[in-house]
Symmetry: C2
Subunit: 359 residues, 2 copies
């Protein structure tokens, strides 16, 4: 750290980015207004996204730096959100190291040969920056375009990646994953450790290219009890967070249905814990404990209701979050595909107005 408290080295964001409302809130410093961004803000809810993606398969679109840059910028232009999130997919680093997988429209990631034995592990080699050169290129372009707006790097967490690899695709019940986790704890631990290394390397590439925060998404981890999380997942997630600790960028951790896990997800090493809409923000703060910022948590389905209802529910979130050390406003899950983009733009304005008046 330098004398003024900023991290030293090439990863220090420019001063106006460092002092943005989003990064200040992540660091639990006073803010001019509560910062807002939306998970999945870049994507299916925007007509301009559907237009530029036309005819381009999902994974291919993640490997084209110009396209990634355009898609990442679209919601910043349209909604005036306080942070951009790097457009990617959870399985991009797996594809990059040669796992035979594809993202099937309407289904999700499908893995040709699921990983279930020790021999299968050998297919998961380490990730190098060259494997994802398009990420470095895209982030180089993005930081130039974004100006003071911070860019959030993005990766899937080891448990969620493991679920896709072991099941061979999206799964509602994670039977094969849990069968392995309970039935062969050593193989499971080795699998998650390997995935932690890949994930950490992927996040490092993004930070070194210019991302000024990272979010580790553990989409499916809400399927576990606290005891199983602590025993079978937390060591790998902690390894990821530890690997990027030296950069001094805020580390956000989010999963859906994780009310029972919030404390442990903070303990794993997150600076900011994401909260879904099921747990009120003040109760989430109690579970996470002091020294962490929180992110959340308007139910994305509320945006399908009336403008008055959206404002009323937003007020509930802001009221519950009013005592937090740091609050990043977000939805409690990703933007739903059929969401009216206008409702998102109005929501950003509303949160800014309401919290600027208070500040």
């Amino acid at each position: 750290m330098s004398a003024n408290g900023r991290p030293s080295g090439q990863q220090t964001p420019p001063p106006q980015t460092y002092d943005s409302a989003f990064l200040r809130a992540c660091r639990r410093e006073p803010v001019p207004h509560t910062p807002v961004w939306f998970m999945r803000q870049a994507g299916r809810s925007l007509p301009e996204y559907l237009k530029v993606r036309e005819g381009i398969p999902m994974l291919e679109s993640c490997m084209r730096p110009e396209l990634v840059t355009e898609i990442t910028l679209q919601p910043v232009r349209r909604h005036q959100v306080d942070a951009a999130i790097y457009f990617s997919d959870i399985v991009v680093p797996l594809k990059a190291i040669g796992v035979d997988l594809d993202i099937k429209p309407g289904v999700g990631p499908v893995v040709a040969e699921p990983i279930r034995t020790r021999a299968d592990l050998e297919r998961l080699r380490e990730l190098t920056p060259d494997d994802v050169h398009y990420v470095t290129e895209a982030i180089g372009m993005l930081t130039g375009e974004l100006g003071a707006t911070p860019l959030i790097g993005f990766a899937g967490a080891p448990f969620t990646l493991a679920s896709y690899l072991v099941e061979g695709g999206p799964s509602r019940n994670h039977e094969h994953t849990k069968a392995l986790m309970y039935g062969d704890p050593q193989l499971w631990a080795d699998l998650l450790d390997r995935l932690a290394g890949i994930t950490a390397a992927f996040l490092k590439v993004q930070i070194e290219a210019g991302a000024s925060a990272v979010q580790l998404f553990d989409s499916w981890v809400g399927a576990l009890s606290p005891a199983d999380y602590r025993r079978s997942v937390m060591p790998a997630s902690a390894k990821v967070f530890e690997a990027v600790a030296g950069y001094g960028v805020p580390r956000i951790h989010f999963g859906v249905g994780t009310g029972e896990l919030l404390g442990l997800m903070g303990e794993a090493g997150a600076d900011v814990v994401g909260v879904d809409w099921r747990v009120p923000m003040d109760e989430a703060a109690r579970r996470v404990g002091p020294g962490k910022a929180l992110q959340g948590n308007l139910d994305p389905a509320v945006l399908f209701s009336t403008p008055e209802a959206v404002e009323a529910k937003t007020d509930e979130v802001l009221a519950a979050a009013s005592g937090l050390e740091g609050h990043v406003f977000n939805l409690g899950h990703g933007v739903l595909p059929a969401t009216d983009p206008g409702a998102l733009t109005r929501l950003v304005e509303y949160v800014h107005e309401r919290t600027a008046a208070r500040g």
Copy 2:
């Protein structure tokens, strides 16, 4: 109540049923062993079920008393569970009052014309015993066959029924349902109140025919925050429980992902609160408070692991439940279709042995 503490009237089960381990646990009385049953024990995991259902659509199978009787008895014969659950589907009472719906294999219930306006409400008339005469017939046969084994009656809760009706089918995000709930609270309340009346009437038919407990399934209610549950769902669920309170049969209430709602679901009027696998039983007991029994909560996916892992995880559940006032052992969700039936039979034996030794 009569002098010996049993409920009076024709719904009193025969003494050996009344004194069964299952009903004693529901009443928080000492038990010879922890009773066990499984949600979805009658169904897709059993080859004998697949055989008798062959070529018969789901809803039709729910309306044939001999078939319902056979399917309800199958898991009792095979696994020696401590209770039977009436074979039905959540949408049966809606079909019975004339809602145009069908259960599509691989999809679930599909409603031809979703309910979203006040005029639509008129399509939901009251349910009379004549609408479900096959239920009365089936339960008459069942109680004869079951002997001392209690029969659990079964209905979907108002919120879950409303979600199917408003969405027009199964929904991951319940957008239309929540849009209505937040956007037109009076229409929403009227819809849920009407569904509560239908559900209560359906449960009364089952109790009067001989069911000695009931379970109200709120499959989707875990999609709500506690504030929304209290405001928009609890009054209707409470109306159902209140309507059947006079019979003196235990009332079980269960939903998935309801860690935040357990206390409120008990408060709604349940005697037994079902717990999914995400919340340890001792923590669930803390949230529910005294004066209620709990049901749960082995992760159904554990059954895909090794026998040793199943026993270890079962021991964890039993240890966490050891201080409860009353414990009914169950899975934390329904039996998954690909579950090995032998694993379920062994699990019943194991819980009986472990808890008889302690008792």
